[in-house]
Each structure stands twice: as structure tokens, then as C-alpha cells.
Symmetry: C2
Subunit: 331 residues, 2 copies
């Protein structure tokens, strides 16, 4: 097991929540009866998480976490990556750590010996393959400035950050440090809006982030972008976003994705998928393909194409980590 930072340059260092997903098939009625919002992520405390879990059907557990999923996908594609995120030294923490190392993601953050347990996300997969999530953030709430190793960021072409981190104050401080280090080292910063409700909770800060030159590459899906600009009209949201930061990649489910720069609006369609099993991780794996292409100097349409392909692969599997290597998708 590789526990010390790898040497040399890295393609991407990611900072995100370190979570083990616990997935189960469910019907819409169950989600409604629990007061969860279909298609979104709800934060729950430990007691609520346990109560929800007790009423969940048979489960399967896979490592998750949005940025962590993206890095795992990138590593599987062949990129050099590192992850900063917090787990406790418990059985789920060991699983999370294992799965990062197993796919080749460097994960140097110290495990906590006490404090809240490793985070879990209860994922309800409905018959339409949509996922609804209830996350107990646990140990993730303890990621802090001291976990941000400047050296890792300085050695990485891109630092990738998830919006979900805005939900905890210590993580926000960690992110601000990471952004400063990356800026001083003249490295790129990528950011994902994560979830419509997350955008709702932190809209002003997210808007400041992307418009004050802190972010170079923004990932969002249609719903998140509409939430950011408080409109129901995706075309209007795309217009408003255009040029706000250098690159914006908007995922659009079966329609593919749209890439925006100040000069360009390019739509890249995606191939239909024979059997969609579980959409968990679709956006995360899109980012894997897109960022992989960027770090190889590809044009944006090619980046989006690989993003689409990675997303198309993960939705044929249960969970957000591919059990098959993804490098065959790099044409």
C-alpha cells in the first residue's frame, strides 16, 4: 500500500468528502415516506442515518464521494492523482482507503483514530435508475487546513474541489487555503457545484468563487446550473454562465454535455446506453474523462467526448466506482 505521496508531477489533486456508499434498490414511495428529495442529496445526522438504514432493503457497499469517484475514474484511465479527505480508522475507513490505493490514487491524509465514524451515504436507486442520497458526513467534517499539503497542490496541474465541502466550516477554510496555494503556484482549479440543494445553500459564495477568477473549470449539471442562476430555463442559465469562468462543462444526461468558454458553445452528444442500471456517479465520472483529456492537452470537444463515455460506462454498473478498468475508453 502506497501511503507516502508519490514523487514528481501529478495530473490532479482532489479535495472532497471521503464516503462509503451503501446502495439499495427502492421505490419512489419509500423515498417520499422518508421525506428525502428524489435525485438529490440530503444531509442527515448519525441518528437519522441509522434510522434510515434500518428501514433500507438489502444493500451493497462501494466507496464513493464525488471528487474521490472522479479521481478513481481518472486513475483507471491512466492519470496520476492524489486525494485529500478524512476517514476514521474503522472498517469503512479501511475500505475507502483500500479502494483508493487499489485503483492507484495516492491518498496521504492521516486517518483519525477517534471522533466521528467514516462517512456513509445511503443511496436509494429507484426503478428509473435515478439515485437519491442521505449522507452522514461523519469524519469528513474534520478535514481542515492542516490536511492541505501545499506540496501536493503545487505538484498538480489541476486542483479539483467539490461544492459539498461548503457544508462544513473547517472544510471551507481548507479549500480557501488550497485555492491560495494553487493560485500562487499558477495551477488550475476545477470545481463542481455538486447538487441543486448544495447550490441553494451556498449560492452567493459559489457565484463569487466562479466570477472572481478563483475557478478555471466549472462542472455542473442542468439542474445545478439552473439553481445557480435561479431560473427554470436552461438556455438562459447557459447564457448567464457563458464567460463567467474560463471553461464550463454542463452535463445533460442522455443528451450529452455542453462546453462553454467566452468564445465557444459546443454541444457534444453521447451514445445511447443499452441498459441503465444506476446513475450514481454519472457526473463524477464525466469529470474523470473531461479532466483526463484536459491534462493531456486535448481540445474541449474531445474532453467532453471521453467524459460522456465514462459516464455512459458507470451507469451500467451499481455504484460510482467502476469495477472494470476504464483505460479501454481512451480511444
Amino acid at each position: 500500500m502506497n501511503t507516502t505521496p508519490i514523487n514528481g508531477t501529478l495530473d490532479v489533486v482532489g479535495i472532497g468528502n471521503a464516503i462509503v456508499d451503501v446502495l439499495s434498490f427502492a421505490d419512489d414511495a419509500l423515498i417520499q415516506s422518508h421525506g428525502l428529495t428524489k435525485g438529490s442529496m440530503t444531509l442527515v445526522d448519525e441518528a437519522r442515518s441509522e434510522a434510515l438504514y434500518k428501514q433500507m432493503g438489502p444493500t451493497t457497499a462501494c466507496s464513493g464521494g464525488s471528487v474521490a469517484n472522479t479521481l478513481a475514474g481518472m486513475a483507471s484511465l491512466g492519470a496520476r492523482t492524489a486525494f485529500i479527505g478524512k476517514v476514521r480508522n474503522d472498517q469503512l475507513g479501511a475500505i475507502f482507503k483500500h479502494d483508493m490505493h487499489a485503483v492507484g490514487v495516492n491518498f496521504p491524509t492521516t486517518m483519525m483514530e477517534r471522533g466521528p465514524a467514516t462517512a456513509n451515504c445511503l443511496v436509494y436507486v429507484t426503478p428509473d435508475a435515478q439515485r437519491t442520497m442521505a449522507t452522514y458526513i461523519g469524519a469528513c467534517s474534520r478535514v481542515s487546513e492542516t490536511d492541505i499539503e501545499p506540496d501536493l497542490i503545487e505538484r498538480s496541474a489541476i486542483t479539483y474541489i467539490e461544492g459539498y465541502l461548503w457544508d462544513t466550516e473547517t472544510a471551507k477554510a481548507a479549500i480557501r487555503k488550497a485555492i491560495t496555494v494553487a493560485r500562487n503556484a499558477q495551477k488550475k482549479i476545477a470545481f463542481t457545484l455538486s447538487d441543486t440543494f448544495c447550490v441553494d445553500r451556498h449560492r452567493d459564495e459559489f457565484l463569487s468563487l466562479i466570477s472572481y477568477n478563483d475557478i478555471d473549470i466549472l462542472f455542473a449539471n442542468e439542474a445545478e446550473l439552473k439553481s445557480l442562476y435561479q431560473t427554470d430555463d436552461i438556455e438562459l442559465a447557459l447564457q448567464k454562465a457563458k464567460g463567467v469562468c474560463p471553461i464550463i462543462a454542463v452535463t445533460r444526461s442522455e443528451k450529452g454535455s455542453t462546453v462553454l468558454t467566452s468564445d465557444l458553445t459546443e454541444h457534444v452528444s453521447t451514445a445511447p446506453v443499452s441498459k441503465v442500471v444506476d446513475t450514481t456517479g454519472a457526473g463524477d465520472l464525466y469529470a474523470s474523462g473531461f479532466l483526463y483529456g484536459l491534462t493531456r492537452g486535448w481540445d474541449l470537444a474531445s474532453c467532453a467526448k471521453l467524459g460522456n463515455r465514462c459516464a455512459g460506462e458507470i451507469i451500467t454498473q451499481i455504484g460510482a466506482r467502476s469495477l472494470k478498468p476504464l483505460n479501454t475508453l481512451v480511444a
Copy 2:
């Protein structure tokens, strides 16, 4: 969560190892380099288990355990079942317990507060969908006579026992108690040979068990039956087995299964499966269907047909627990 024994009669009470499976795709070379025997289960100690895990690819975790899988399948088909097996009160133990209750299997055995961790089985799934297993038996080694509640056995039409239990002395004593209770209550006893190497380790005891009227229903696959009679000729093994105990159900992979009684040898073919992903649990789920039919008074060919159908379903999924309900398979 249902922690007290359900009232009234039960279809099956099972006694087995309570294991969480940790599955990963692997190639034949990795299995060879670890000295594991392809298609079989190797017992490993905690240190070896940890060393193997470190070198495993990205994983997905699902509850497992042979008899536990069978009971989960039966519950999903609509049967009333209970499980006796030992986990520790740790995160994997909680997952195992959850998954039993979630599918409706009564699981009254007390969790251990200390001692060895909940058992895990590292499952290597090769490109041919075959599974190779390395099991750290952990808490399972502590199942003992005190865990055998006579009341549960007396209320169950069938007591189902796995051969794997012969690997620990305390479990063997527990089984002998269970057999005595079941016999005195004039209930049926079913038994699975589990694995060729398990048969190798305990051949004489297994032969005594099945030929001294202790067992009413025996499950075996072709390799296990050949191992039991130390022959390479399956026809010879079937001849030797015929009539040794009242019902013998032999699973034969894509050929279906053969049921033997003293009067009858009936082959029941199975429908081809479009895409075999992972054969983990195929034998266990065959037993689910077969025992379900038996407890409903079906003829043996119908029992075997449902067994074939359940096995055919589980091999299209990763892991040995179906995330889809199986009751649609009961025609």
C-alpha cells in the same frame, strides 16, 4: 429491526458462517500468484487476509455466507426463515445483520462485543465469471452450542447446515446439538457439502453424516460429489450417492441439476443466461429455490426448476445476495 424470534412455524432455520463478501475482478495470474485454488475457498488467517486485501483491486462489499445466502434467497421468495451465525458488533457485523433483517430473515444470534472481527471473504471474480475465495473466519469460529436455540429448530420444517462449519470445533458441537434437536422433533435436516476442499478435509465425517440417517436432503455440485467419492467420473459418483440419503440435489452449472432419490434419477435442465457476470452464490441460490419448493410440498422436479431459476438470476448480478426481489421467479 426484528431482533426477537418470530412466532409460529418457520420454513427453514439455517446454521452457517456469517460473512461479508468483499468482491473484486481479477485475472487468473493474480489468483495463481497468491497460491489460491481457482473456483474453491481457501481458509486464511487474519494476517494473510489483510495481506491479500492490500493487493486486491477496487472492491464492492455484500453480505455473504453460504447458508445465509440461501436463507436470504428463500426470504425473498416469500419463505419464513431464521439464521444462526456469529458476527461481532463492528461495522461489517452491522452490515451483515442489516442485510438479513432487510430481506426478512430472522437473525436472533447475539453479536459478540469482543473477540475476532466479523468474518470476511475475499472473492476474486475472473473474466470467466468464476469465483475464487479466501475466507478469514473471524467471529464465525465462536458459534457454539449455546447459540443453538432448540425452539427455533423445533418450529422449523427444515434445519439447513453448511459443510463449512466442520472447519471449527465449537461449530461442530453446535451442529451435533442442532441435529439431535431436529431429529427428536421429527424435523427434516438439509446439508450442503460446500466445497471440494471442505469435502477433502472432512470426507469421513460427511460420509457418516449422510449415510447414518442424519441428513434428509443433500446439496452438492458435481465437483463436490466427485470429491466425496474420490472419483473423476460424475456418473459413478451419482450412482454411489443414489439412495444414500432420501433426497440428493446435484447442481451441474449450465447443464442444470440432477435430483436423486432411491427410486428416481431426474435431470432438470436450465435456461441459458444472457450474461453471466459473477457465479458467486449460484449453488446457494439453487438451494433457496429447491428448499422453497420442498416446504410448499412441490414435486422434486419443480423444486429443481425453481432452484435453477434462482441460480440463473444471481449469476447475472455481482455478489450472492439478489438486490432484486426473487418472488417473481415463483411461477
